[in-house]
Symmetry: C2
Subunit: 348 residues, 2 copies
């Protein structure tokens, strides 16, 4: 299938579910007292987001239960045992966790903007932002506790949520550590990416399987699918930073180079003897010229570093799709394969 | 029983369990990679703390199971159904939550010291402190997920932990809100205290009952016991700030007045027409004189405000002890009654 058709199918699947997901977020995380706290907590969730991760959860539920996409009620979804399960709550819970991590990350990185609006600690204040993140954190566990799944499956989903959050924190700490650590190996970098970004895709894909009572083999396969495709997504992000024009990217192309961010590309280039930190002279994105970036990209291409990252992302994507072979052969599974492809073929 | 004898029994019960609790914290929250993250996360837990809350958990388990104090293994504790339960893990989980809230509260209040050592964001940095708190947050859920309790009870304990954390965040937000809100009612203040401080005592007392498979009536009674005695504790804290000499208090007596902190005493006095904010002229604790504090205390006593707070704390304590009547009459239950008394009779 062509790249465009894949993208169309994935964006179609997301579009078909977005309103359901947004309505569920409103239901499961309603406004409450104290008002300012809940406003701040809901602020980023209301500001948008593609809802790709919750879509993955819903598709995973459909693939595991082997039902036609959009044929079953996500709030009372057919499990592999008796009771219906609210798989939408699991999707919302993980989106709420994602929102909490964005709020706290923006404080830590002192980023001003997020999803085109001021970051929560700018729109409100740092104290409120810390507390809004903390509130989303426990709300995510509350919501995950309300799926109606069999107790053993509900408990396992909570445990998976907890260990996923710990991994995300560890990944963020590794990311900070790598900024000053001199000799990061590509494998260490990939572990950081897995912890910081990909485990949440893993949990998004695997949690519905846990709740629906799927075998460990299926749960593990979906978790690994999420890890592999989420890692590929992050690596592709680093490629796009160098290869997509600034106006399409929505920020200065090459800003990772300017900010001397560790990426798989930079790590590979350094191993090839490239003076990565000297590639561009500018120290803030506003001061760099397109020509400087072009020359840097040429050097990174000559070292094979961009192709190395592209190849790694492709390998991870093929691996991700292969994981799904334990699932029944159905439309939802094919859409999950498309999602994996889309994550590395999307233009920006 | 005399006040001294009560205190002796309570401190004895705490002393007898402290090493077990500290060893369990080390086991359930071991050092891990990334090292700096886990060092920061463990820092306050290692700096000490009385371990009163985990002691309440362990006593509650003994009271519910109706076993002699210290006669059963907390790691394989006799439940009311078949399987043994690790009630110590629940106690550790709640102590870990307490530590997370202290780390984030200290950032929000920009407090420099905690338990006699620099606050985590001072000993490390704000980014690390936010992340250390976030890590403890999920670790607490991971630890609570490892009690070995029957799935329905394990899941219920996780849900209680989640709703407790949400309440704590709401309480902290209310506390911040009250600093600028003009017309706080005593009942609103008590709700804030319940949310911010007392629910964690409630969870500490009730969670073992949930895990051991006790009836809802017993769970609720222990939860209310914790709420009532925890609220009394906090109110008594405000009384002590005015009535205990600075050298025993470990900080300037009357600093709540200087910092214009809302307390039950201040709210009551304001209702009696006292110009509370004008009671002391100093705006930082270093500048206030003992004489100024003495005069302020005299005025608050004349308005009946200190006695009002003392009376409220006493009423809540009696109510707390009354809640325990649904439990079997045993030594552990009597120690829980002693703990409630101790929380408002402790000198400082």
């Amino acid at each position: 299938m062509s790249q465009d058709a894949t993208e169309e199918r994935v964006l179609g699947a997301v579009d078909e579910r977005r309103e359901l997901i947004n309505a569920a977020i409103d239901e499961d995380l309603p406004m409450a007292e104290p008002e300012r706290l809940y406003e701040a907590a809901r602020y980023l969730l209301e500001a948008g987001g593609k809802r790709l991760r919750p879509t993955v959860s819903l598709l995973a539920a459909e693939a595991v239960a082997d039902v036609e996409p959009l044929s079953a009620d996500y709030r009372a979804f057919p499990s592999l045992y008796d009771d219906p399960v609210d798989v939408m709550a699991a999707a919302v819970s993980l989106e709420v966790i994602q929102s909490f991590t964005l709020i706290h990350d923006d404080i830590m990185d002192d980023d001003d903007l997020r999803r085109g609006v001021p970051a929560v600690h700018k729109a409100y204040d740092t104290e409120t932002a810390i507390l809004a993140g903390d509130t989303l954190y426990s709300k995510a566990f509350e919501i995950m506790g309300e799926t109606g799944a069999r107790a053993e499956n509900g408990l396992e989903a909570m445990r998976m949520l907890a260990s996923t959050c710990t991994r995300i924190c560890e990944g963020q700490a590794l990311d900070v550590q790598f900024e000053t650590q001199g000799d990061v190996e590509p494998d260490e970098y990939l572990e950081m990416v897995e912890f910081k970004t990909a485990v949440l895709y893993g949990a998004a894909a695997a949690t519905p399987a846990v709740l629906l009572g799927a075998d460990d083999e299926v749960v593990d396969a979906l978790y690994r699918y999420g890890i592999d495709s989420g890692s590929a997504f992050q690596i592709q992000d680093d490629v796009l930073d160098l290869t997509v024009p600034s106006d399409k990217l929505g920020k200065q192309r090459g800003s990772d180079l300017v900010e001397e961010k560790e990426t798989l590309i930079a790590l590979h280039a350094r191993q090839q003897g490239v003076d990565v930190d000297g590639l561009v002279a500018a120290t803030v994105p506003e001061e760099v010229t397109e020509r400087e970036i072009d020359e840097a990209v040429n050097e990174l291409e000559a070292a094979g570093s961009i192709e190395f990252a592209r190849g790694k992302a492709r390998d991870l994507t093929e691996q991700a799709k292969g994981r799904l072979e334990v699932l029944p052969d159905n439309e939802a599974r094919r859409l999950l394969e498309d999602v994996a492809d889309y994550l590395i073929t999307r233009g920006y």
